[in-house]
């Protein structure tokens, strides 16, 4: 079922999603694009750190840690 405005930090460990839109500010957005987090790409939440923040996501074959406050700005669609 499609949920509008689902955020990346709401994706549970082990679940996948497709990136829809990045609402972060310009510099963070560019950094995220650089590491391959582009709209349309598939992403999986793989790990959570001991405190639950940051979490690590599988992005285009690489595992990358992103803080919840940044993933909170990324709109995704569950899949």
């Amino acid at each position: 079922m499609f949920k509008p405005n689902l955020k990346l930090n709401e994706i549970a460990v082990g679940k996948r999603a497709i990136v829809k839109k990045i609402n972060s500010n310009e510099s963070i957005k560019r950094r995220l694009l650089d590491i391959g987090l582009t709209p349309g790409s598939k992403i999986e939440c793989v790990l959570s750190s001991p405190s639950g923040d940051p979490k690590a996501y599988l992005i285009k074959g690489a595992l990358i840690a992103i803080r919840n406050e940044d993933s909170n700005m990324i709109i995704v669609e569950a899949c």
Binding site: R30, T38, P50, P54, L58, I59, I64, A65, R67, D70
Partner: protein, 692 residues
């Protein structure tokens, strides 16, 4: 090692994303012909080295690993400036076959700047395990440059790479890879492009950067040209072109985004044309290790256990070689004396050279070398295996609470080896504010020059004599305790700095957790001995020798039958007493500014009033000496705390100056740990004196 007089025929730049095995490729190509890398002093790159092929000498610069050339951090800036303006013949871009799509991003950015490139698709063995197939021929067709496949850790593909490089250096071309942007941007580029003159760069790319207001790049360009590229005429054209963009709602902010998405799109296209995917799942074995290393209950305890294990191995392992070296070096000095007497040297010279310079050197070497030879390889193994980024991952939350970022955990870890290295390592931190904080607080991590002192004091004063086999375990635990105090202070001071002179909010944080890789034991050991241990030891020797001389002079020049050293110590005594120390100890810390390793020897030397370091059979004798000179458990604890928290050594200070480009921040980096140490010692000594 390469001699400076050797002729260099070609220069190769090695670029690539982090964690793609770039340094493995580098090590494979250069073997042991490397210049000390990864240490302060190199501005261009992490390391450089050379190799000979067909009687021609190739010099390779290993550039910092970066995801893009957008220059978010200092490391990226260094890499970008070298790719743009560096005087090299071929750029080799190393890619990770497992995540080629992301790597292509950087490849395309480099190919826009230089066509004298070769792509090295590394880690083909890992890709094969994941059933990822890459059509290298097709990839080469799309990119317009040679592509070599490799598994550098097994040495595969290196011969072909060397050969392709040797062909490429002789090719002269000036066509660049073209990335298609939308119609408006293309129009704006064309307007500017035709007005750029006399620049040996891809004009199309440069036009885009001029439109993009990439000031840092333009500054670097002007610097390398020696004049301002933007003259009145060009400025007019740029403004006209920007007008075209604005009319189509493209501002300087979203222009960058258009550019990045165009590159991403091309990367995606090429990727889909050349790669057939097997499994996209994360490696299940890695996932199991990760769950242990990062889970709520086991993550932090595991890290502490790891830290303790490394120090335990270092303490136990260094014990015997250290005393052997000590016995050996101190047994030679009488022959040195005999020799100097034989050639009729005056007595004062013999005293100065043997009792002053030689004995301080002998002490520094025997105390430092064994722990370094154990600690550095162990640490490099952790680095190689991919454990360190997990530590940063676990600790990021706490750093964020102090308004900094988890990468500071990595620079702290480097500080265990050498604080100067830790300070240089701070380049990986993107935000300048967080980077400064990491640099200022790095001294709170005890470096290799300090924990021998800490361990000796722990063993003498904090552990009751006869614990037998457990002594080393308890020493280790207490040492870890001391280190935890240092880490706590790092957090505290970081937070205070973030609230006061370095105000700001934590920036974003992205950190790659690379797959676990079996470290290449043999190579790691050789590398870490050559690059790290000998380098640090060399530095210590260079500063210890003159320091030995100065100390000998201070100890042997008498005024009113009291040595200068004692005069100074007496003058410092009342001040030092406030902090649970004595004048001699404080004097030793001051004289130890060139190298922390010599602090303890100076203390001993002064107490003995012999004006020379003499051999002490064992720690028991040393303890008696210290107690006779008024040491109590309070003194021992305060010396440890002050050793943990005082001014960074001279090398670290110079490195901070170089990295921060500011005397102000260097001074602050000296003052903050010193004041912190004094305050802590003051409080602790006064509290302890009430109870003891």
């Amino acid at each position: 090692m390469k001699k400076k007089t050797e002729k260099i025929d070609y220069i190769i730049a090695l670029a690539g994303n982090p964690n793609v095995g770039k340094s493995t490729v580098f090590n494979n190509l250069t073997g042991l012909r490397q210049h000390t890398g990864n240490w302060p002093g190199k501005t261009v790159s992490n390391a450089s080295g050379n190799y000979i092929f067909d009687n021609e000498n190739y010099l390779i610069y290993d550039l910092p690993g970066t995801y893009s050339l957008n220059a978010h951090s200092t490391e990226e800036e260094v890499a970008r400036d070298f790719i743009c303006f560096g005087n090299y013949d071929v750029a080799v871009i190393v890619c990770d076959a497992v995540c080629l799509e992301r790597n292509l991003n950087l490849v395309l950015q480099v190919l826009e700047i230089t066509n004298k490139s070769i792509i090295c698709v590394n880690l083909l063995d890992e890709a094969k395990k994941k059933k990822i197939k890459i059509d290298l021929v097709k990839l080469s067709d799309y990119l317009g440059v040679p592509v070599v496949g490799s598994s550098a850790s097994k040495g595969k593909g290196m011969k072909e790479l060397v050969k392709k490089i040797s062909l490429m250096v002789k090719v002269k071309t000036n066509s660049y890879l073209k990335i298609d942007y939308n119609e408006t941007i293309e129009k704006a580029i064309k307007t500017v492009e035709s007005n750029i003159n006399n620049v040996n760069l891809n004009k199309r790319w440069l036009a885009l950067k001029l439109l993009d207001d990439d000031y840092e790049l333009i500054n670097s360009l002007n610097h390398s040209l020696g004049y301002n590229i933007i003259d009145n005429e060009l400025e007019e054209v740029i403004n006209k072109a920007k007008q075209i963009l604005l009319e189509n709602d493209i501002t300087s902010n979203n222009l960058k985004e258009y550019v990045i998405s165009a590159i991403n799109k091309k990367a995606e296209f090429i990727y889909h044309q050349t790669v057939t995917l097997g499994s996209i799942n994360y490696n299940q074995k890695d996932l199991k290790i990760d769950k242990w290393l990062t889970s709520k209950w086991t993550g932090i305890p595991f890290m502490l256990a790891l830290l303790a294990t490394i120090f335990w191995i270092t303490i136990v392992g260094a014990n015997y070689p250290s005393s052997w070296l000590f016995d050996f070096l101190f047994s030679i000095d009488k022959y040195l004396k005999q020799f100097l007497e034989f050639i009729n040297s005056p007595t004062w010279l013999i005293g100065m050279l043997v009792d002053g310079v030689y004995r301080v050197l002998a002490w520094v070497i025997s105390v430092m070398l064994p722990p370094m030879l154990i600690f550095f390889p162990l640490f490099t193994l952790l680095e190689d295996a991919g454990i360190l980024p997990r530590i940063a991952f676990n600790l990021d939350k706490y750093f964020k609470k102090c308004y900094t970022c988890g990468k500071q955990a990595l620079t702290m870890a480097m500080g265990f080896g050498c604080n100067a290295v830790g300070v240089t390592g701070c380049r990986i931190i993107d935000s300048p504010r967080e980077r400064l904080i990491a640099m200022i607080t790095n001294a709170f991590v005890p470096c290799n020059g300090r924990y021998p002192t800490l361990i000796s004091i722990i063993t003498m004063f904090l552990i009751g004599g006869s614990l037998g086999g457990f002594t080393s375990v308890i020493s280790t635990l207490l040492l870890v305790g001391v280190i935890l105090i240092g880490i706590f202070m790092t957090f505290l001071i970081s937070k205070i700095l973030s609230k006061t002179i370095l105000k700001g909010y934590p920036s974003s944080f992205t950190l790659e957790l690379p797959p676990y890789r079996k470290p290449q034991f043999g190579k790691v050991i050789i590398r870490s001995i050559l690059d790290r241990s000998l380098f640090v030891l060399g530095r210590a020797v260079i500063v210890a020798a003159p320091a030995g001389l100065v100390i000998w002079l201070l100890a042997n020049i008498d005024i009113n039958n009291i040595s200068l050293l004692n005069h100074c110590a007496n003058a410092l005594e009342p001040f030092a007493n406030l902090f649970g120390l004595d004048g001699v100890i404080l004097m030793a810390f001051i004289l130890g500014f060139p190298a922390n390793e010599i602090v303890f020897p100076i203390i001993i030397m002064t107490y003995m009033a012999t004006g020379q370091i003499i051999e002490l059979d064992n720690l028991e004798a040393l303890k008696t000496l210290l107690i006779d000179n008024g040491w109590t458990i309070t003194t021992a604890i305060c010396v440890m705390l002050f050793s943990l928290m005082h001014w960074p050594c001279s090398t670290t200070c110079l490195t901070i100056k170089k990295e921060s480009k500011s005397w102000k921040w260097t001074l602050i980096s000296i003052l903050i740990p010193t004041i912190t140490g004094l305050i802590v010692c003051f409080i602790v000594s006064h509290i302890l004196n009430i109870f003891l």
